[in-house]
Structure formats: C-alpha cells, structure tokens
Amino acid sequence: MGLRFFYSYSIAMIRAFSLVCLTLGLGLPAQAAFQDSAATLPVEVQEAPTRGFSQGQFLPDVELPRIDGKGTIRLRDLMGDFEKPGKKLLLIHFASW
C-alpha cells in the first residue's frame, strides 16, 4: 500500500511539475522528465483508460432498468475502487431471439 502511495504520489508530482514548467514555457525539459518516468511504469498502467466492453476497457457508467421491474442497476456500482474491490462479474449481453 505504502509503495503504491509513493508511486502514485511520484507520478502526481511529476505531472504537477510538468504543468508548471509548461505554463512557464519550460515544456521540453519537463516533458522529458515525465517520459523518462513513464518508461519505467508497469505495462498494466493505463494513462487514458477507455470505457466499453472490449478486453482491457472499463465498464461504462450506465444505469439500466431490470426486466423484472425491481428497479435499476448502475454498472459503476458493480466496480470496486482503491479501498474496496467489487465482485468478479460475468456480464452477458444477449437477446432472447
């Protein structure tokens, strides 16, 4: 946990520094620093994750009604977060025809 915190904190600091440098017209050195760091990141890290149902994507945040009339389910509520993982899920898209 501590290692992950340090890791996230480092990335945030690099980004903040990069933003400040860009604002001050110092883009190139700051970008180079960020890219050096990014090159060492684990491959699983996604900087700009997309939403959808293809492998690697994250569930979209859509709320849909149940066909049995028992309210709605919001897909995002099925997802966990840093503190509390959700449940492993099999999502079956189908039609009765």
Partner: protein, 421 residues
C-alpha cells in the same frame, strides 16, 4: 445463455461470481419470459436503445473486481480449463487501477438527471426523452403528452445535419415504444422502420440495428426464427405450475417465422369476392393502416444485389367514434391480397380468427405477410412504383343494438421501389 447459466451455477451460489445479463431487444417482457422459462435467477437489464453501443450479441465479458474487462472470448464448457473463466478471472488477484477515471459522456452522465422543460433538439431534451423511455415516468395518468414530447425531442435530435446513425436508431426505438403503448399514432410503426433503415444505411455492420428490422421483415431476410420458442416456453412454464410472463405486445407472424425460400405454396387460394358484390364500407367503420418492413439487404450500399422482398404489417381498427365492433359469433374476418405485376404475395388469402371467445369485441386486429419481387419471363425483376391492393371482409356492428353488416373494406399499400423504400 442457458449453457452459461448452467456452467456458472456453483460459482454463483458460492458467491465467487456475480452474473448479470443485459438484453438488446425492443420488448423486455419477452426476455423476461425467456428468463423464467430457462430459470435464470440473475438480474437482467434492458437496453432497447443500445445505450451501451454494442454492435452485436451475444457477448460475454469477464470483468474483474475493479470493473476492467479481462476477456470476451470465454467458453462455458471451459470454466476450469487452461484459459477458462477460472484462470482468466476467478483465480488472479488483480491490482486496483492506477488512475483517476475520466469523465463520462453527457449521455451516460446525465441520463437520469435532467429536470425542467428544455427545448427539443438540445442535448438536455434528448437526455430527458431517453430517460422517460428507459426509466418510465414518475407521473401517473395520461402520458400522451410525455410520449409526444419524448418522440418529438428525439426526432429533432436525429434531424440535425450532424446527427449520428445511433440517433436515428434511438428515434426508431422510441417510435416503436409509442406504437406499442395506448398512445400509438398510426404512422409510428412505419416511421420506426424508416428510422432504423436510415440508421443501418449509415452503419451497415451494426447487427443489433439490423436485427430490429429483420424482426418484422420478410422471411427471406430471417437469419433464424426470432420468437418461435415462445409457445414451448409458455407450455413448459405452465406445466411447472407457474404463471408464464404475459407478453404485452402480441407476436406477429413475422416474429415467429423461420427463414423461407422464395417458392410460393399458395397457388390454391380462391378469391372470396372477385366481383365486389359485398357492400363497401362507405361509412368508414373500419380503418386499415399499413407499415412495410424492408429486406435489410436492400438498405444502403450494395442494395439491388439482395433479393427484393418486404413484410407488410396491416392494422385493422374498428371506428371508436361510431362505436363499431367485430361480431365474432357471425364469423371470421377475411383479408384478400392482390399482388401487383412483378410481385408475389405470400399467402394471398388470410382468415383472422376472433382473438377471444366473446361474441363481440373491438380490438385492433393485426396481420403481417410477405411480398417478394419475382422476375418476368425474361428474368428481369420488376422496377418502379408498385401498389398492392386488397380488401377486408368483416362482420361489423355499430353501437350495442345498432346496425350490423358484412362489409368490404378496400385498401392499398405502396411497396418498396428503391433501396431505402
């Protein structure tokens, strides 16, 4: 899906796995009957508007505890095999994602949150309309104004020059929902088919949209029977001592039909009133309206190569203004169809059996049938405008103790003449 249901039974019961279904079809109660028949005990969601932007079903997604899709290529018979559900999803301990989730699109973000009365054609009005159709209205009583506002808003959104094919598809879904409601307007069904056809022309690889047209389309265009399982489901559910889920919208012949070749088996049909001797319905006791579902292969690019065919859906409505009703004890209604040159109708003669056991009734009666272009002796298919003519022979009465007649009501249906109708 029954195989996935069986394959994951122990995993669901042990709490190791959550299963959720999402159906991509117009009528949720049909999926509900299917789930009852198959004994599905997991939640199933309804996405008639395809808000999830899927282009085909079935798709089975293994999703980890942080919401990331880990696989879409699993097989139900390989749960414990290498590369199966256990290896791909259940056994690994995944790390939480190391990012802040990006903001959602306006559609996903705001669907249920719009209040007030935004102008039609605006994003907010579109969201408000979709929310009405997806979640229903909190208001009770007459919802005709809500349906009207919802359809008009989606129509305005889909009419923008920069509109997407998905906007047209969703307009079609809303129109069909209104057609199946007490607030139906005569043109709703045809307009929904037209909107879906335009959407498919803009994105021919969208198979969920294509299926929506084929559901009501000609038999030549059926990839498989859509709802031929319903009778068996009702019988088996009833035999189990359960009450089967009632279908709010009756199935049409097209929805039950299997794919069929172009050969006709209707040569023996005899026209019931060839000399027009039965009195015509001069008072407008019976209204006849039609919607024509095209062959999806006739839509968009490549049209003209596919077999030209269509499915015609007729609605026969006794005049409420004149308190007209069917007199079922007098006999069945009959519909005769006279195909124009270059077309064949399948079949030409239809008998509409009274829907209930009561002596009289005033329901809307529906009939659907296929029409197929046929080549002439030289092998050339017909082209240009074509009109199918037909008539209904029906026993009708006006008022409780009023006049009763056996009447002939004639009608015409314009058949598709170009790829997009």
């Amino acid at each position: 899906m029954p195989v996935w249901h069986a394959a994951t039974k122990e995993l669901r019961e042990s709490g190791e796995l959550t299963v959720i279904g999402i159906v991509q079809e117009q009528h949720p109660e049909r999926a509900k009957l299917f789930a009852q028949w198959q004994g599905f005990d997991w939640p199933i969601l309804w996405d008639a508007f395809n808000l999830l932007d899927l282009s085909a079903v079935p798709i089975v997604c293994a999703v980890d505890e942080y919401g990331q899709v880990r696989s879409t290529r699993l097989r139900p018979n390989q749960i414990d095999e290498p590369g199966g559900l256990r290896a791909v999803l259940l056994d690994p301990a995944f790390e939480p994602p190391k990012f802040v989730a990006p903001p959602e699109s306006l559609l996903h973000q705001g669907l249920a949150k719009v209040v007030g009365d935004p102008a039609p054609g605006t994003p907010l009005a579109t969201l408000q309309s979709l929310a009405f159709f997806v979640y229903g209205s909190r208001a009770e009583g007459d919802l005709s104004a809500s349906f009207e506002r919802g359809v008009n808003s989606l129509r305005a959104w889909a009419a923008r020059p920069e509109a997407l094919p998905a906007d047209l598809f969703r307009l079609g879904v809303a129109l069909r929902l209104r057609y199946d409601s007490p607030y139906a307007q005569e043109s709703d069904f045809q307009e929904s088919l037209d909107a879906w056809s335009q959407a498919l022309a803009g994105n021919p690889s969208q198979y969920i949209w294509r299926r929506r047209i084929q559901q009501w389309g000609p038999r030549l265009d059926k990839p498989y029977p859509f709802y031929n399982w319903v009778d068996q489901a009702v019988q088996e559910v009833t035999a189990r001592g359960e009450v089967p889920v009632a279908l709010r919208v009756p199935l049409t012949g097209s929805e039950r039909a299997a794919r069929k070749g172009s050969k006709s088996a209707d040569a023996a049909a005899v026209e019931p009133d060839p000399e027009a001797e039965i009195p015509r319905d001069e008072s407008g006791w019976l209204a006849v309206s039609a919607a024509v579902a095209p062959h999806s292969g006739d839509i968009g690019k490549g049209a003209g190569k596919a077999a030209a065919a269509a499915r015609v859906h007729l609605s026969l409505t006794p005049s409420a203004e004149a308190s007209v009703h069917w007199t079922n004890d007098a006999g069945a209604s009959v519909v005769w169809l006279d195909a124009p040159a270059g077309w064949r109708v399948e079949p030409a003669l239809h008998e509409l059996v009274p829907a209930g056991a009561s002596a009289t009734s005033s329901e809307v009666r529906r009939l659907d049938f296929g029409v197929v272009r046929v080549p002439d002796a030289g092998g050339e298919a017909a082209s240009g405008p074509a009109v199918l003519r037909g008539y209904v022979l029906a026993y009708l009465c006006s008022g409780e103790d009023g006049e009763c007649s056996y009447l002939r009501r004639e009608f015409e249906v314009e058949l598709p003449t170009s790829p997009n109708k």
